[in-house]
């Protein structure tokens, strides 16, 4: 046993951020992301679903988002918003789903960012600007 004056204190800098309504502990900025592949499963799931919808839309399965929404049984407003995730800039999609970098914004905000010109998107999605 160590005596109290010999004890070691370790400080690990952590940020806590609200993500999708839940607090989430963010790693320090110097931490190399994605070695253990820990992207938020909700984000992967939502982007994967949007990508699947995009594939079906572009294969000509549906004429309009309304038809798609009916087929998947969800509200049209929700579907058209979530569908935008599949139209994020390719670089952003790569960092989110392939490199599994954690975004600095909520999923809802990601759907807004998708409408911006591509070069503006990384700065809005990730902390590094």
């Amino acid at each position: 046993m160590m005596k109290p004056d010999e004890s070691i204190q370790i400080f690990v800098p952590l940020k806590v951020r609200k993500q999708n309504g839940r607090p989430k502990i963010m790693p320090p900025a110097t931490y190399l992301p994605s070695e253990d592949r820990t992207q938020d499963p909700h984000i992967l799931r939502a982007i994967g679903r949007a990508w699947g919808w995009r594939r079906r839309m572009e294969a000509g399965e549906f004429n309009t988002v309304t038809d798609l929404a009916k087929a998947v049984g969800l509200a049209e407003r929700h579907v058209s918003r979530q569908l935008r995730l599949a139209y994020l800039a390719p670089g952003v999609l790569k960092r989110l789903v392939y490199r599994r970098e954690v975004p600095a914004v909520t999923l809802l905000k990601l759907t807004d960012v998708a409408a911006l010109p591509w070069h503006e998107q990384p700065g809005r999605v990730f902390d590094d600007g």
Binding site: P41, R45, G48, G52, T64, Y87, A89, K94
Partner: protein, 151 residues
């Protein structure tokens, strides 16, 4: 760069176009008739296509990952899962459960669990191997929250 990037100007031009103009732009770019009259849809889809033609779309590995994710979400994925179950603890966590006086240690892997040197896909499978009966794996290992009102 010798020339200024023409993309921002083209995107700005889209915003100024009428729906009729957007539809004729659609005809030019996609070589098909515009699918509807929604200005928001036409504008954003054209903006995407213009950028894609210049900068290129998602690369192969990103597309492959997106395809895997899409298949997994729609439940048609036959290969190992890409999305971790949100109920699982951090990879490498050891779960210890005593059963009939024997202590069992399970290690959480990236895509499954390890028990007695063998990989398992689910905690339920391990619980069944230990007890011989079907359990909810998360409940057996104490990972499932109690129902509200019980505590």
């Amino acid at each position: 760069m010798t020339k200024p990037d023409p993309i921002p100007a083209r995107l700005a031009a889209l915003k100024a176009m009428s729906v009729t103009q957007l539809k004729s732009e659609w005809q030019t770019i996609f070589a098909t008739a515009a699918p509807n009259n929604s200005r928001a849809f036409l504008e954003s889809r054209l903006a995407y296509r213009i950028q894609e033609l210049t900068y290129g779309g998602p690369d192969r590995e990103t597309r492959r990952m997106l395809d895997l994710l899409a298949d997994e979400v729609s439940g048609t994925l036959t290969r190992k899962s890409q999305i971790a179950d949100p109920r699982n603890p951090v990879v490498g966590t050891r779960l210890i459960r005593e059963w009939n006086g024997v202590e069992h240690t399970i290690t959480v892997l990236r895509d499954g669990f390890e028990w007695q040197g063998r990989p398992y896909k689910s905690l339920s499978a391990i619980a069944r191997a230990i007890t011989g009966t079907r359990w909810n794996g998360y409940r057996f290992f104490g990972l499932r929250e109690r129902k509200r009102g019980n505590d």
